[in-house]
């Protein structure tokens, strides 16, 4: 896990890329003037706001991050079709349940991304991270944490935990190297 960037003038590369594209999308143009303005905004805003933001871990393997993004997008589409079938089918057959997934990640930023992907993919909504403590925000504290998940149709608990850990958590661990 690395918190500091290589260049001092670029404290948050992902935020800069996001600001650049959001400015171009909001103006709906790629003219030279707007590109210059977007580059200026993308450099100045992270610099000006970095003193009061907590340091977040950087993406160390960008290629893997992009591949993981497309995997998650594909999963969102298939998962939505599954959930639509479950909703339209008979309600009495559904077996909902709460399960706890043990987490290997320690920092709050990767855990947030994991919780969001779990919320958007097959029949699961993440509810809480247990146990909660203040040291969690800095990524300190050594006790084992759990992600509490509500499942719409729980068939095989262990298989679901294994899927979440292998498909979504392992790539995140590699991307952030933590």
């Amino acid at each position: 896990m690395r918190l500091e960037t290589r260049f001092k003038w670029l404290p948050a590369p992902i935020l800069s890329i996001l600001l650049f594209f959001v400015w171009l999308l909001l103006n709906n143009s790629v003219s030279a003037g707007h590109i210059v303005l977007a580059v200026i905004l993308a450099i100045v805003i992270p610099l000006a706001t970095s003193p009061f933001r907590t340091k977040q871990p950087l993406i160390i393997k960008p290629g893997l991050a992009i591949r993981h993004l497309f995997l998650v997008l594909y999963d969102i589409i298939t998962a939505n079709v599954q959930v639509a079938i479950l909703i339209l089918g008979p309600t009495k057959k559904l077996t909902p349940g709460f399960i706890k997934v043990p987490l290997d990640l320690t920092h709050s930023m990767p855990i947030t991304i994991l919780a969001s992907t779990v919320s958007l993919t097959p029949g699961t909504v993440s509810a809480e991270v247990l146990p909660w403590s203040e040291s969690f925000i800095e990524g300190e504290g050594s006790e084992q944490r759990f992600l509490l998940i509500h499942v719409l149709d729980l068939k095989d608990e262990q298989a679901l935990i294994d899927t979440i850990k292998q498909r979504y958590e392992a790539p995140l661990k590699e991307i952030f190297q933590c």
Binding site: N28, F98, A115, V125, A127, L154
Partner: protein, 110 residues
Amino acid sequence: MTEWIISILLLIGGSFVLVGSIGLVKMPDFFMRLHGPTKATTLGMAALLTAAMIFFSTTQSGFSVKEILISLFLLLTAPISAYMMIKSAIHHKLDSIDRTQGKDNIEDEL
């Protein structure tokens, strides 16, 4: 041709939004109701906005991609609002239906 693509995307989007609302009405307890709006409605909106993007790109002069911004925003915020709602539901100790498994996993420490 583009008219067909726009129509199919619009119908897919509309039916996903409708399925999300049906789930909201049909399911027996709050935790199960949450699944419809967070997933089905978000994907339905993404399909609708893609249709709008293609529509405005073909009918009006110039390319239009700014509709992506709304679907990106909805995709980012849907899990967060779902998380806030399920947290407040757990805090208020809402009843889940009897056949829910693993109820003892809930620990409310607030």
